[in-house]
């Protein structure tokens, strides 16, 4: 671990305790969304569209309703009518009109697998059988899958009310014409013409990336009960219980007071478990039947209809001087949003050049609708595709100039005070520390051995999120503390937040009992996403700790008959002072807690806070690959991930986040992608055909933690989870160039694509 000198000596932070929810998760007792059982519960199932784009001319549900055991069938018409508007989802936003049409299609289905109707029945076999009895008459329409084709004036139009006036570099859509371009953004800094004029070398390339799925192992699920008094309870696996509540309130046209969301354990999300899919349908079915309705999604539907990432097309032009100084960059980023507007192109734009201190730049970004599932956030949403393209071009420049790729990156690295793409200065960041750690790492300094082997490096950047979090803490007479959390726990945040509260009070981790509760039982908390939870929740834990310290000091002062100012709370949890007779007194944490009930009562505190002092994350990865010229198979021989994590609260979980993110990135680099046939139907909606890495696809992923504490957090936390998915696509692509001399411009680089390059040559 590489630490900066000012890191304080923590007692709890930096240790690796077992998580509080751990035993339940290894014994099978932890209750995930699909594990909900309610008396009288019905099972819901969804009928999905067989076409890429079609008008629904008629739906006849009568035969399905007549099947014994079927209790209700619903369609889009059963939802309250929605006006266009904006609904904040925490990691992105949505138009409620589009959201409801995605949950159950309105007059058109916009992608293969789009939900059309839903059934509730006494048994899931009956519900499935009933789907086959629903008659839907479709009028198939022309469709468009490719993002560049969708931008053309001649493309089939998805939304006839969409207008975006763009006039930039070959894109020309007048403001009165229908278009699939939902948004255009441009950011500019400096003077790119002057910048390119200074350049000794200019490289311009076009890149495409396929659609990738988050691939959480737990399919979406949702159970709802619409009580006779109008109260709606929802049990679901979600990254944000309050986000689900707010989406439900909008879609069902109910006040939030009527809706309680109970977050169950969640089997992975990576951004994909923020939008609602099944929960509102279960609620409407429950209203119709008066019984609880449980739904879970078949895996194929998860691929067809829940948010994958954008397929992208990106053009990158970068100029540099002979000594490797980058002088100008001009980028054009086109992201397919899927069926409804709202890709992550904004973050793609803002992150693309963040690893570089670059004076002259212009970045155009386009959000484009296509006949594919509506995209959702996926780990560092938007960043991997744009940074991949930039990292590939930077690599080509370094190669052309014969400069060590890390040396070149160090030369152009941003640091505190230099400005990013928007012109705003960076706070303290660890870009240079990460690059230096790579240069000094055993991996980077090792020799590559063998034929057709190569090494590549790439950087990655992610902002890390802030936003609102809430928690309560109750101090118990036995010295333990119940910590009530609003953040759902995907990968160990009960532990990382409990550790920060323990640190702030000088007590042990085992004394804190964290619990994730429903939306009626804690203050508003934004989604677990954006790498924000340990940062923002940690701030709240710290503030809870400060408040508890203050109250305990007041209590001791009252017991000793003195002013609180005469009493001190020590970092070991021991309270010291003099009583009114001038005699030295002290309470250990346990002693004062024991006295609480008899000296004025228990202590319970709540904190809601929103901090924007986030610390951005920089990562750098090194990949060694070997190419089999016979089969095109790429073996990743060695892989190292280096990242500035601010402070590693629980280093094992931090490493785990980085290893998991890197593994997903390696999947995107080499093997994962969506396949559509010529009818626009998804052909690989299974784990067999959408090939995520398994254990023997991957080498051990070595992790080097760099700790440059975030000055905007009491414990220096930056956020960890997202940056590690950014570098792998480029690191591996650059390693392939090193191994076989071929520059690839599409990812994933599958064996077929490798053979396409190698065979004609040999």
């Amino acid at each position: 671990m590489v630490a900066t000198p000012e890191k304080p000596a923590y007692k709890v932070i930096g240790t690796r305790p077992v998580r509080p929810d751990g035993v339940d998760k290894v014994t099978g007792r932890a209750a995930y969304g699909a594990d909900v059982v309610l008396e009288g519960m019905l099972f819901g199932s969804i009928l999905r569209a067989p076409h890429a784009h079609a008008r629904i001319k008629r739906i006849d549900t009568s035969k399905a309703l007549a099947l014994p055991g079927v209790k209700a069938v619903v369609t889009n018409a059963d939802f309250p009518a929605q006006e266009s508007g904006t609904l904040d989802l925490g990691e992105g936003s949505a138009n409620p009109k589009w959201l409801v049409d995605n949950v159950l299609a309105g007059d058109k289905t916009l992608y293969h697998g789009h939900a059309v109707a839903a059934v509730a029945a006494t048994d899931w076999h009956i519900a499935e059988e009933a789907l086959g009895l629903i008659e839907v008459e479709y009028e198939p329409l022309p469709f468009v899958i490719d993002v560049r084709e969708a931008m053309l004036g001649t493309a089939p139009i998805l939304h006839h009310d969409l207008r975006t006036n763009v006039r930039a570099r070959g894109v020309d859509t007048p403001k009165d014409r229908e278009t699939n371009i939902a948004m255009h953004m441009r950011i500019e800094k400096g003077d790119i013409a002057a910048g390119f004029a200074e350049a000794d070398i200019v490289i311009e390339r076009e890149f495409t990336t396929s659609q990738f799925h988050q691939g959480y192992i737990e399919p979406q699920n949702g159970t709802a009960y619409w009580n006779q008094d109008g109260q709606i309870t929802v049990w679901t696996s979600t990254q944000g219980s309050f986000s689900v509540r707010d989406q439900m309130a909008a879609l069902l046209a109910q006040p939030v007071a009527k809706i309680k969301v109970v977050p169950m354990e969640i089997g992975g999300g990576f951004g994909g478990k923020i939008p609602v899919y099944l929960e509102p349908v279960a609620a409407i079915l429950s209203k119709k039947t008066g019984r609880p309705v449980k739904m879970w999604m078949p895996r194929e539907a998860v691929f067809q209809a829940t948010g994958p990432t954008s397929a992208t097309w990106n053009r990158v032009k970068i100029g540099a001087k002979k000594d490797g100084t980058l002088v100008a960059a001009d980028l054009e980023l086109c992201y397919a949003a899927g069926a409804y507007p709202g890709s992550a192109v904004g973050a793609g734009v803002l992150c693309a050049l963040a690893p570089y201190n670059l004076a002259n730049q212009r970045i155009d970004g386009y959000d484009v609708v296509t006949n594919t599932p509506k995209t959702a956030a996926y780990r560092a949403p938007g960043a991997p595709a744009s940074e991949y393209a930039v990292e590939a071009v930077v690599d080509e420049i370094a190669r052309a100039l014969d400069i060590d790729p890390m040396e070149m990156r160090l030369k152009n690295a941003p640091e505190e005070g230099t400005t990013g793409s928007t012109g705003a200065p960076w706070p303290r960041i660890g870009a240079k520390a990460v690059i230096t750690a790579i240069k000094e790492s055993p991996h980077y300094n090792s020799e590559l051995q063998g034929e057709d082997v190569g090494r590549g490096v790439a950087l990655g950047f992610w902002f890390n999120g802030g936003m609102e979090s809430s928690s309560s803490a109750m101090v118990n007479p036995d010295g333990s503390i119940s910590l009530i959390l609003g953040s759902t726990d995907i990968g160990g945040t009960r532990a990382s937040l409990a550790m920060q509260l323990a640190e702030s009070l000088g007590v042990s981790y085992e004394d804190i009992k964290p619990q994730v509760v429903d939306t009626d039982s804690v203050g508003y908390t934004a989604v677990t996403g954006g790498s924000r939870t340990t940062f923002a929740g940690g701030w709240v834990a710290y503030e809870l700790g400060q408040e508890i310290r203050k109250r305990l000091v007041e209590r001791a002062a009252r017991i000793w008959g003195v002013e609180p100012s005469a009493v001190t709370y020590g970092d070991n949890g021991v309270i010291t002072g003099m009583d009114k007779d001038g005699k030295a007194q002290q309470f250990t944490f346990d002693e004062i807690c024991k006295r609480l009930p008899s000296t004025g009562g228990h202590i319970a505190v709540s904190v809601t806070s929103r901090k924007n002092t986030t610390g951005p994350a920089y990562a750098g990865h090194i990949a060694d690959v070997k190419v089999d010229r016979e089969t095109g198979k790429v073996t990743v021989l060695r892989y190292t991930a280096v990242q500035d994590v601010g402070t590693a609260i629980h280093p094992a979980y931090v490493e785990g986040q980085i290893q998991g993110g890197a593994a997903q990135g390696i999947g995107m680099a080499l093997q994962e992608e969506y396949w559509y046939d010529d009818q626009g139907r998804l052909r690989n909606g299974s784990f067999l055909d959408y090939r995520m890495p398994v254990a023997n696809d991957l080498p051990p992923i070595e992790v080097i933690l760099v700790e440059v504490p975030n000055p905007g957090h009491p414990y220096g936390v930056r956020g960890v989870g997202e940056a590690p998915i950014v570098p792998p696509m480029a690191a591996i692509r650059n390693a392939l160039r090193d191994a076989i001399g071929v520059n690839f411009y599409h990812t994933p680089v599958t064996p077929t694509r490798i053979l396409d390059e190698l065979l004609p040559r040999e």
């Binding site: 077992v18 998580r19 751990g22 035993v23 998760k25 290894v26 014994t27 099978g28 007792r29 932890a30 209750a31 995930y32 699909a34 594990d35 059982v37 048994d123 899931w124 076999h125 086959g132 988050q214 691939g215 959480y216 192992i217 737990e218 399919p219 969640i266 089997g267 992975g268 999300g269 990576f270 879970w296 078949p298 895996r299 995907i490 990968g491 160990g492 629980h650 094992a652 979980y653 490493e655 785990g656 986040q657 290893q659 998991g660 993110g661 890197a662 593994a663 997903q664 299974s686 784990f687 067999l688 995520m692 890495p693 398994v694 254990a695 023997n696 696809d697 991957l698 051990p700 992923i701």
Partner: protein, 163 residues
């Protein structure tokens, strides 16, 4: 469409004889989860590609989503719920916790059952053997490193002479 018929099935589940009513269309996964209420058996794909539903059936590791409930009359079934004893967690469970081998935990029951089957067959596997054996189990959170470490730590504990 398969026809529905009610079946009364008796099998030994985690050492206890259990009789339950199932639908003839139920997979073993569905029967274990929805009829017997053993919710530790997880569904990730329902077609044999993720291993979340792994159980040990008559001593063999299977994906329960690929077995019909009708096939388990008289069978012996081990699920994650049967790993711990009143004395405590099994070494694999304990090592998964200590090595932080789970993040979301949805894959964990499947990995625990696969690893249990592995270590019965091969008490001293190499890392490559562990990776190869576990290739039928998907984990999207961890990148597998810590899972491999946990399995090896448990294997070592289990090989150590009993005191």
């Amino acid at each position: 469409m398969a026809t529905s018929e009610k079946l009364v099935i008796t099998s030994n589940i985690n050492g206890e004889e259990r009789t339950f009513l199932a639908d003839s269309r139920d997979s073993l996964l569905e029967a274990l989860r929805e009829r017997v209420n053993l919710k530790g058996v997880k569904e990730g794909c329902n077609n044999g590609n993720c291993g979340a539903c792994a159980v040990i059936l008559n001593g063999r590791l299977v994906n329960s989503c690929c077995v019909m409930a009708a096939e388990v009359e008289g069978a012996t079934i081990e699920t994650v719920e049967g790993l711990a004893t009143p004395e405590g967690l099994a070494p694999l469970q304990q090592c998964f916790l200590e090595e932080a081998a789970l993040q979301c935990g949805i894959c964990t029951p499947g990995f625990l059952m696969s690893s249990t089957a592995l270590l019965r067959e091969n008490p001293a596997p190499t890392d490559d053997e562990v990776r190869f054996w576990l290739a039928g189990n998907l984990c999207r959170c961890t990148g597998y490193d810590k899972i491999i470490l946990a399995v090896q730590a448990a294997a070592e504990q289990m090989r150590a002479p009993k005191k």
